[in-house]
C-alpha cells in the first residue's frame, strides 16, 4: 500500500512512529484498511435498510403507538398473532402463497429449460437473436405495465380474449370476477414475463458445456434425446438447485406487483390471489392494522427462512457440494 511504502521515505511523524513500533497493527492496516473502507458504504446502507428492520420485528409483539416509538410501545406478547391466526385469512394467504409460488417455480423451471434446449438447437444466428430479443423484452417492463397488458386481454367488454372467444360463439367472461381462473392466469403471466431471462441463464450454461461430450456421445451412437438426458440436463442441475433455492427464499416475499397489479387488487379475486405480501400491505395501508400487518410480516420472514434452511438441508443430504451453505 502506498502509505506503507511512503512512511520509510517521509520523515516519520509521531503517529507513524507509533505505528512502526506495532508491526502487527501496521500489517493489519495494510491488509484490511482499504478493503474495509471499500465495504463501509454498503455495510452501512444494509445496516440501516436491512438489519435495523430485522430488529424491528419486535413490533409484532407490541401494541405500536406512533407517539411512543418502537422501544416505548407496550409489549403485548402474541396478541397480534392470535388475531392473525384467529381469522381464516391466515390460512388463505398461506395456501395461496405456497401453492402459487410452487406452481411458478415448477412451470418456470420446466419452461425455461425447454426453451433453452430449443434455442440451443436453432440453426441460424439471426433467427436465434430474434427469438431471444422478443422473449427477453417482457422482463424489462414493470408490473404496472404488465397489469395494463393483461387488462387489454381480459377486459370483459373490449378485451382481446373475449373478442376471440366471441368468434367461436362463446359468451364474454368477466375474468376479473372469477377467482377460479386466476391461478392459471397468474402462472401464464409469470411465465410470459420470466421466460426470456430464465431461459437465458440455462442457455448460458449449455453453451459452456464442452462439445467433446457431445462428440463422444455421437461416436457411441447416442440419439439427440439421449444427449440431452445424459449430458445437457446433468450440467444444468447445479444451476437449477441454486435458482430454486433462491426462488424458495423469495416465496415469502413474493412478487408483490404480480399479485397486486395484474389482479388490479380486485377483492373478488382474493380467494385465489391474495398472498401474504398483499395482505401485509393491505393491513398496513388500507386496514390501518399495524399490529396484524407486522405479525403477518414476521410470519412471512420466519417461514421463508425456515423453508430455505430445509431446502438447503435436503440438498446437502443428497449432494453436499451443491448446498448453498
Amino acid at each position: 500500500m502506498a502509505t506503507a511504502v511512503n512512511t520509510s521515505t517521509v520523515r516519520p511523524s509521531k503517529a507513524t512512529d507509533r505505528l512502526q513500533r506495532h508491526p502487527r497493527l501496521q500489517r493489519w492496516i495494510r491488509n484490511n484498511g482499504a478493503p474495509l473502507m471499500m465495504c463501509l458504504p454498503a455495510i452501512l446502507l444494509l445496516f440501516v435498510f436491512a438489519y435495523l428492520p430485522m430488529f424491528g420485528v419486535i413490533i409484532a409483539f407490541k401494541e405500536y403507538r406512533f407517539d411512543a416509538g418502537i422501544l416505548g410501545s407496550e409489549w403485548i406478547g402474541l396478541t397480534n398473532f392470535k388475531f392473525l391466526f384467529g381469522t381464516d385469512i391466515a390460512w388463505r394467504i398461506t395456501r395461496n402463497t405456497l401453492l402459487l409460488n410452487f406452481l411458478f417455480i415448477i412451470t418456470g423451471t420446466v419452461m425455461n429449460i425447454l426453451v433453452a434446449l430449443l434455442m440451443n438447437e436453432v440453426q441460424g444466428t439471426l433467427r436465434a437473436r430474434f427469438y431471444q430479443s422478443a422473449m427477453f423484452l417482457p422482463y424489462f417492463i414493470s408490473w404496472v405495465v404488465v397489469g395494463y397488458f393483461v387488462y387489454a386481454f381480459l377486459n370483459v367488454d373490449q378485451g382481446i380474449l373475449n373478442q376471440f372467444l366471441a368468434r367461436f360463439g362463446i359468451d364474454a367472461i368477466a375474468w376479473y370476477r372469477k377467482p377460479d381462473y386466476w391461478p392459471t392466469i397468474l402462472v401464464i403471466t409469470s411465465l410470459w414475463k420470466g421466460v426470456g431471462y430464465g431461459s437465458l441463464l440455462y442457455l448460458a450454461i449449455m453453451l459452456g458445456i464442452s462439445p467433446e461430450y457431445y462428440e463422444a456421445a455421437k461416436i457411441d451412437g447416442a440419439t439427440k434425446i439421449q444427449q440431452i438426458l445424459y449430458i445437457t440436463l446433468p450440467h444444468l442441475i447445479p444451476v437449477v438447485i441454486i435458482l430454486t433455492m433462491f426462488s424458495i427464499a423469495g416465496i415469502f416475499r413474493s412478487d408483490f406487483g404480480l399479485f397486486f397489479n395484474v389482479t388490479r387488487n380486485q377483492p373478488t379475486l382474493y380467494p385465489t390471489t391474495d398472498v401474504i405480501d398483499t395482505f401485509v400491505y393491505r393491513a398496513l395501508r388500507q386496514m390501518n392494522d399495524l399490529g396484524m400487518s407486522a405479525a403477518a410480516g414476521v410470519y412471512q420472514s420466519v417461514v421463508g427462512f425456515v423453508l430455505v434452511l430445509v431446502a438447503n438441508w435436503i440438498v446437502r443430504r443428497i449432494d453436499p457440494d451443491r448446498a448453498l451453505f
Binding site: 484490511n32 435495523l52 428492520p53 404496472v144 410470459w192 408483490f256 406487483g257 451453505f325
Partner: protein, 305 residues
C-alpha cells in the same frame, strides 16, 4: 448459437438431413409462436394509444390503430404538466441511483475478493444474509416514515435500494475471475487498493459492471412500489407510479389537466395506453443497445463460493 460446429457425420446422411429438417421446423415454429406471444401485448397497447376512445369502446382492442390520431399524446404531453414532471423524477432517480449503487456494490464486491482482507468471509455472510431474511414491510415502513423522516423525499426513492445483495455476489464472481497475477503485480508496484480498483479492475470488468448497472437502472426506472408507500406529493411521482395511479383513479388525469388550467375532455383509454407507451418508451429505445450486454453478462453458474 449456431450448431453448425456440432453437426455430426451420421452413417445415413439422408435420414439425418430429413429428421433435422422436421426437427428444425418444429423448433422454429414453437419459438416463433412464443416470441410473437411476447411481442403481441406491446403492439396492442401501441395501437390503442393511437386509436380514438370510441373505436376502443365499441370495437375493442386490436392489433392496428382504429381512426389513427395522436390526441392522447397531445393531451399527456401538452395539456398536462404532470407527465413531464414525472419523467423528470424517474430520470433523476435512475441517473443518480444506478451509478451510485453500482459504485458502492462494486467496491464491496472487489474488497470481498482480496485474499489478504481477513474479514471478507464475514462481509460476504453479512450481505448474503440480507437475501435470506428480511424484517418485513412494517419495520421498514416505520423506520423510514417515523425515524428517518424520509416520506415525500427524493432520497427515499434512491437510497434504500442502492445495495442489492444478489448483484454484489454477481459482481464478486466477475472480479474473482480477473487474473490474480495482474492484481498482485499492481500491489507489488505500489498501487493501492483504490487505484488498482479504478485503474485496473473497473476497465477489465465492463461486461459485469454494465450488466449490474443496467439491472439497477431498470429497477429504478420500473419502481412504483416505493412511491406507493412513501410518496404523496404529485410533484415527486415517478412515471411508473403515475401510471399506477391512473389505473385506479379515472379522474386523476382530469385533475391534472385542470391543474394545468386546461379543461378538455380526455380520451381516457387511449391516454392511459399512451402513458404505458411513454413509461416503457425509454426502455424500448435503449433495448437494442443494452440487450446484448445482458445476454453476455448473465452468468449465474459460478454464483456459488
Amino acid at each position: 448459437m449456431s450448431n453448425a460446429t456440432r453437426t455430426p457425420k451420421m452413417r445415413s446422411a439422408n435420414t439425418y438431413w430429413l429428421s433435422n429438417l422436421v426437427g428444425q421446423g418444429a423448433i422454429n415454429l414453437f419459438l416463433l409462436a412464443l416470441s410473437l406471444a411476447c411481442l403481441l401485448p406491446f403492439v396492442v397497447i401501441l395501437a390503442a394509444s393511437f386509436s380514438t376512445e370510441n373505436s376502443i369502446v365499441n370495437q375493442g382492442y386490436s392489433l392496428l390503430p382504429k381512426d389513427f390520431n395522436t390526441l392522447a399524446y397531445q393531451y399527456l404531453l401538452v395539456d398536462s404538466a404532470q407527465v413531464l414532471q414525472s419523467y423528470l423524477v424517474s430520470v433523476t432517480i435512475t441517473t443518480i441511483g444506478a451509478p451510485l449503487g453500482l459504485l458502492i456494490m462494486a467496491l464491496v464486491a472487489y474488497a470481498m475478493t482480496r485474499k489478504h482482507f481477513q474479514y471478507r468471509k464475514a462481509v460476504a455472510f453479512y450481505i448474503f444474509f440480507t437475501m435470506l431474511f428480511s424484517g418485513g414491510l412494517v419495520p421498514s415502513y416505520i423506520l423510514i416514515t417515523q425515524y428517518l423522516q424520509l416520506k415525500d423525499t427524493l432520497a427515499v426513492l434512491i437510497v434504500p435500494s442502492l445495495v442489492v445483495g444478489g448483484w454484489v455476489l454477481i459482481l464478486r464472481t466477475y472480479f474473482r475471475d480477473l487474473p490474480e497475477e495482474l492484481l498482485d503485480a499492481a500491489r507489488i508496484d505500489g498501487s493501492g487498493e483504490w487505484r488498482t480498483f479504478f485503474q485496473i479492475v473497473v476497465p477489465l470488468s465492463t461486461p459485469g459492471l454494465a450488466t449490474v448497472g443496467l439491472f439497477s437502472m431498470l429497477m429504478y426506472w420500473n419502481d412504483w412500489f416505493t412511491s406507493l408507500l412513501y410518496i404523496e406529493k404529485t410533484a415527486l411521482f415517478p412515471i411508473q407510479y403515475l401510471l399506477y395511479t391512473i389505473v385506479n383513479n379515472m379522474d386523476f388525469l382530469d385533475l391534472l389537466s385542470q391543474q394545468a388550467g386546461v379543461r378538455v375532455d380526455p380520451p381516457r383509454i387511449p391516454a392511459r395506453m399512451a402513458m404505458v407507451v411513454l413509461a416503457i418508451g425509454p426502455i424500448l429505445l435503449a433495448y437494442p443497445f443494452v440487450q446484448r450486454y445482458f445476454v453476455r453478462g448473465i452468468r449465474v453458474g459460478s454464483l456459488k463460493e
